[in-house]
């Protein structure tokens, strides 16, 4: 909200300057976003009088003026304005002056050979209007030599403040003045409310049919008025507030709203037919509002209507049909109280905001209907003339006062400031609270105050939050205890393990497009009001977002992309913590050592997955691999790692070519997902490890090469071999794989650990037989 200093001073008697007032406003909770004095830029400009005006010897359209600037000898000025003439009093800027409207600095110069010492200015040059037809003409008695800004009343700083939604009372200049007075910045002046009885009965019947939405509707008619332009002082203030002056009647209602926080509406009486009532809208009823848009109404909304049609979306915006115009001579004034919740709902439904709505939905002062109407009428009679009717009153505004128990000790026990009780009471009184015993009676304009904590806030904010002493939180004995949960530690470890392995952590949007979600089994959640179609579905997988990021990087020329993200998948039953990985391009660049570049393959994803699972505390040795991770994946070049079919910890490999194409994945994209919440809780939390007992004798290794069926998984062979003798065989590792016309050959290195005696040759032969037998069960044959 914007207002000028002089406007504020209508309500507040204060010697404070703009800066001090701005400081105080911010201190008490009315945040000042800007203080701007339009006179600042106009300081060097003075009122000056043209003494003589002669034709320029070299140019027809120029004149050579002699200008009295109030001191010293008159200055010679070359001027091209058609209205420049002897005797004119205008605005002068001397050499060295910056002209804001033209963005240049005046210099002493010769114009067509004649010296010029400055400029007589137009409105546009001073940013006071669009007029550039001629120079500004002031009244003949304007004091020559004085500051133009002072003379024109432009030296009036404008405050731009942010009013929090709880403070409807400060959506009028008077409310702000009251707060400042409470803060000791000045004294609140009494409000001048004229007494206007009215000289005739209101010819319009006013009725309330929807007392719930509009408990009170006061009105009167003013007839015989002239809707001229509003006076300069009002226009200046409205402009300072950022409003465009329209006509006296419109400006007056706007002015009363900005000045006193009291919205009202004025109807052109000749457009009304019969009684005017506050009622529920009828389904399908429409109205064209003052913003020239048509609104479709329904029975949840309160409207003001006559016998023919709706004229006002109650408390939000008037209708175009009965709006006042230059030809209006009779008006019906409406000052009503609308129920805030109703206004809020209607405004939300119609998606219509207005200054009236923002005040009514926050709750205007229910005790200010009669006075508001009187102020409004007084201004109309003063400015537009005419005569007023007596007031019609339908309904009763909810004026019953709220009481809050006042406990002065709460200011210390909640606010942390020790303020003497007498000072607290005086602060509250200056804000309009009254005291009855232990009860504070809340002023009618403070709908936001309804509990003891509110009183604490009122006192502490006026005393100032600066006075709150910084008080250490009590500290538990000893060093700080660990606070992270197991799942938080899993995420932290997985994240840092990923970075250690060369993955760059990205954060991508939680929402993806329908197409992307569909490729991953579809989304469980769709947004009703997305930013765009691309950001409409809560992701069921981290892969689409990461693949899109990888694509952007490849398009920017990246040769190698290793991306990961730790975030949630949004499924029907839960939001599941997940790691996503995308590998694209070169695993290793070409080099003088290794030759050609090596591209990523599914094994790189497997390595990352195993490393991250290990870091996250998963029992990696027990994981079982199943080839083919599902429909999204390449059936033969993807797999899952799990602890049984129901506990899948990760999926990795190549995407299904159709999915890759639909995602526009770069060629050779390898992906993986780790399902962090599937990692089982480890059984032991024992810190101490079992005793260290290295075997007494060195292990021996033996190599075995098998011809195996082509479809046999290497892992199956390894497991079979390892379980051939669980006592003696401590490790079995595939070290060679060779596929030829003869079939598939796999070679294993088997580690045998002797107990307290070295193996005899017979024992080794024995275990070798077991190994071969175990392999043969899988169709393998020892190679000769």
């Amino acid at each position: 909200m914007k207002f000028s200093l002089s406007w504020l001073k209508d309500h507040l008697d204060t010697p404070a300057d703009a800066l001090a007032i701005a400081d105080a406003l911010t201190r008490i909770g009315i945040e000042v976003e800007d203080v701007h004095n339009p006179a600042e830029a106009l300081k060097p400009f003075r009122v000056a009088k043209v003494l003589t005006a002669e034709r320029h010897p070299q140019a027809d359209k120029l004149q050579v003026l002699s200008v009295d600037v109030g001191h010293g000898t008159p200055l010679q000025v070359v001027c091209g304005a058609p209205n420049a003439r002897a005797g004119l009093v205008g605005v002068f800027g001397g050499a060295g002056t910056y002209v804001p409207g033209s963005d240049f600095t005046l210099k002493k110069a010769a114009i067509r050979g004649v010296e010029s010492n400055g400029m007589m200015c137009s409105s546009r040059e001073l940013q006071l209007g669009d007029d550039h037809e001629g120079i500004i003409e002031l009244s003949a008695d304007a004091p020559v030599g004085t500051s133009f800004a002072d003379y024109a009343g432009l030296d009036d700083p404008v405050f731009d403040v942010a009013i929090t939604p709880n403070r409807q009372d400060c959506m009028g200049v008077r409310g702000i003045a009251r707060d400042l007075a409470a803060a000791g910045v000045g004294t609140l002046k009494a409000l001048d409310v004229p007494t206007i009885e009215g000289s005739f009965d209101n010819p319009v019947e006013i009725r309330i049919e929807d007392a719930e939405g509009c408990p009170a509707f006061f009105g009167r008619v003013v007839r015989g008025l002239t809707n001229r332009t509003s006076p300069d002082w009002m226009q200046r203030r409205l402009k300072a507030a950022g409003q465009r002056p329209i006509s006296a009647l419109v400006d007056i209602t706007n002015y009363v709203m900005l000045d006193l926080g009291r919205p009202s509406h004025s109807y052109d009486l000749k457009e009304l037919t019969g009684a005017v009532s506050a009622r529920r809208a009828i389904e399908g009823e429409t109205v064209i509002a003052l913003n020239e848009k048509e609104y479709k109404l329904d029975p949840s909304m309160t409207v003001i209507a006559d016998e023919r049609q709706v004229h006002d979306i109650g408390g939000i915006m008037g209708g175009e049909h009965s709006g006042v115009s230059d030809t209006t001579t009779e008006t019906l004034l409406e000052v009503a109280y609308f129920t805030p919740e109703r206004i809020a709902r209607t405004g939300q439904k119609l998606q219509l905001t207005s200054d009236a709505r923002s005040r009514f939905e926050r709750g205007v002062d229910p005790a200010f209907l009669d006075d508001g109407l009187a102020v409004l009428t007084g201004l109309i009679l003063d400015i537009c003339g005419g005569e007023a009717s007596r007031v019609s009153r339908a309904g009763q505004p909810p004026v019953e006062a709220r009481r809050v128990t006042f406990d002065p000790a709460r200011t210390l026990s909640l606010g942390g400031i020790d303020v003497p009780e007498r000072e607290q009471i005086s602060i509250l009184q200056s804000l309009g609270f009254q005291f009855e015993g232990r009860d504070a009676v809340v002023p009618s304009w403070r709908r936001d105050v309804d509990g003891p904590a509110d009183l604490v806030e009122e006192v502490t904010r006026i005393v100032g939050y600066d006075s709150i002493p910084s008080t250490p939180l009590p500290r538990r004995e000893g060093v700080a205890r660990p606070t992270a949960t197991r799942s938080q530690m899993i995420e932290r470890r997985a994240r840092r393990a990923a970075a250690a392995r060369g993955l760059d952590e990205a954060v991508t949007w939680s929402f993806i497009s329908e197409g992307e979600a569909g490729l991953f089994g579809g989304a469980a959640h769709m947004l009703a009001n997305p930013i765009s179609e691309e950001m409409k579905y809560m992701r069921p997988s981290l892969i689409p977002g990461l693949v899109a990021a990888a694509r952007r990087n490849v398009d920017r020329g990246a040769a190698s992309v290793r991306l990961c993200e730790v975030g949630r998948r949004y499924l029907t039953d839960a939001e599941r913590p997940t790691v996503g990985i995308v590998l694209v391009g070169e695993k290793q660049p070409r080099s003088w050592q290794s030759g050609k570049a090596r591209l990523f393959d599914a094994f790189d994803a497997k390595a990352d997955v195993l490393a991250l699972l290990e870091a996250a505390g998963a029992p990696v040795a027990n994981l079982q691999l199943v080839t083919g991770a599902g429909e999204t994946w390449h059936p033969g070049r993807s797999g899952t790692l799990g602890l049984g079919p129901k506990t899948i910890l990760a999926a990795f490999g190549e995407l299904h070519p159709r999915v890759a194409k639909a995602l526009d994945a770069p060629t050779g994209t390898i992906v993986a997902e780790i399902y962090l919440d599937a990692i089982p809780v480890p059984r032991s939390v024992e810190r101490a490890r079992p005793a260290f007992k290295p075997p007494a004798l060195q292990a021996v290794t033996r190599d075995f090469a098998f011809m195996v069926p082509v479809g046999l998984a290497a892992d199956a062979l390894t497991r079979a071999v390892r379980s051939a003798d669980k006592q003696l065989i401590t490790e079995a590792r595939i070290f060679d794989r060779y596929e030829s016309e003869a079939g598939l050959s796999l070679a294993l290195e088997v580690t045998l650990q002797p107990g307290d005696k070295s193996f005899t040759e017979a024992e080794i032969v024995e275990v070798s037989k077991k190994i071969v037998a175990a392999a043969e069960k899988l169709g393998a044959a020892l190679r000769g």
Binding site: G415, G416, S470, A480, T483, A484, V507, H525, P530, L563
Partner: protein
């Protein structure tokens, strides 16, 4: 004792040997099984005692001299051979080594870890809650009824479909407060970092960003504790003792009294940094938890009170580490991540510092 007549010959032979093979031939000729010196040694047995005592020292001295000569020459030849070999064994170590790829931690994760570390020292645990939230937790329980103007200010994303309660993407991390209070018995000290959503997208707003919420519920907590906690946290986070705070009265439906918190900034190397007080910028919203919110969570507001605060994690990251464009946080641009990201070993700790 005069040297043996054979000595000079073998000395000459040893000196003449140019490689190990030639030298070995000399050794065999002198000391081999049927070498001349070996023969001489064998002849000692056939001598009478007197002759032997006269000849033996000479022959032994001859054997020793030749053996020494051979060893010396062998060393010499081997050294020469090694030198020769070394002269050919050269690699260009200026060649580049294969690089281990360096990954990075996203600034948002890093800052969340930093915050968790700082607040752990103050006794705050990290709490979490759903991002798809019902409107009761996101609004109603926080004293934001349906008709409240603040609801409209939140630019809420609504989740489509029939739900028991309307579902939204949480617009702030404050619903975690509600869940924390409902889920445990005070005293409570928690922080709740996480993703939040507003349907807002322009140069300085993204539809998804990160917030962190703090909540303390106990019996005698005042705004003084709130002020201290925020001062302590911001000093620790920005790693400066000259961090100055300004609390301003403000309004949040879920706190009463409410305070907006500005932090002082100063210009350093043409950049606005936190610290000093050349100007103020808003960094936090805070206040004493509204009694109605405490009651909504099933606690007695006459017994329990406390404070809450909230701030943007992305914004804290930008202020500390100097990024100027929020949108880049969510683009996954490798160049940006390498520039602003953190190394995996930059784990914030109290002993090692919470900045990197």
């Amino acid at each position: 004792m005069t040297s043996h007549p054979l000595a000079a010959r073998f000395e000459a032979d040893i000196a003449a040997a140019t490689d190990l093979a030639a030298l070995d031939a000399v050794r065999v000729a002198a000391l081999g099984k049927s070498g001349e010196v070996t023969q001489l040694l064998k002849s000692l047995g056939a001598m009478d005692a007197e002759t032997r005592s006269a000849e033996a020292p000479k022959i032994h001295a001859l054997r020793e001299a030749i053996a020494n000569g051979l060893a010396e020459k062998k060393d010499e030849l081997e050294s020469a051979e090694l030198e020769r070999r070394l002269a050919t064994e050269r690699v260009d170590l200026s060649l580049p080594v294969s690089e281990t790829p360096m990954g990075s931690i996203h600034p948002v994760s890093q800052v969340m870890d930093e915050l968790a570390e700082i607040f752990a020292d103050l006794g705050f645990a990290v709490a979490e809650g759903p991002e798809i939230e019902d409107d009761w937790h996101n609004f109603t329980a926080l004293n934001i009824p349906e008709t409240h103007p603040a609801r409209a200010m939140h630019d809420t994303f609504y989740v489509d479909g029939e739900h028991e309660r309307p579902m939204v993407l949480r617009t702030h991390t404050s619903p975690v407060q509600i869940r924390a209070m409902q889920g445990s018995t005070p005293p409570l000290r928690i922080i709740a970092p996480g993703r939040v959503y507003r349907s807002d997208s322009d140069a300085t707003h993204t539809p998804m960003f990160h917030q962190i919420e703090g909540l303390v519920i106990d019996r005698n907590i005042t705004m003084g504790h709130l002020k201290w906690t925020l001062e302590t946290f911001l000093k620790a986070f920005f790693e400066r003792d000259d961090v100055v705070l300004r609390m301003r009265p403000s309004y949040f439906p879920f706190t009463e009294p409410s305070a907006e918190v500005d932090v002082g900034w100063s210009m350093e190397k043409g950049r606005r940094v936190v610290g000093g007080s050349e100007g103020w910028m808003e960094v936090l919203g805070s206040g004493m938890v509204h009694p109605r919110v405490i009651a909504n969570c099933g606690l007695d507001p006459d017994e329990w009170q406390g404070f809450a605060f909230g701030t943007g994690v992305d914004r804290l990251a930008m202020l500390k580490y100097g990024m100027d464009d929020l949108r880049a946080f969510f683009d996954g641009d490798l160049r940006w991540m390498k520039h602003y990201g953190f190394r995996f070993l930059d784990v914030p700790t109290l002993s090692g510092g919470v900045g990197a």
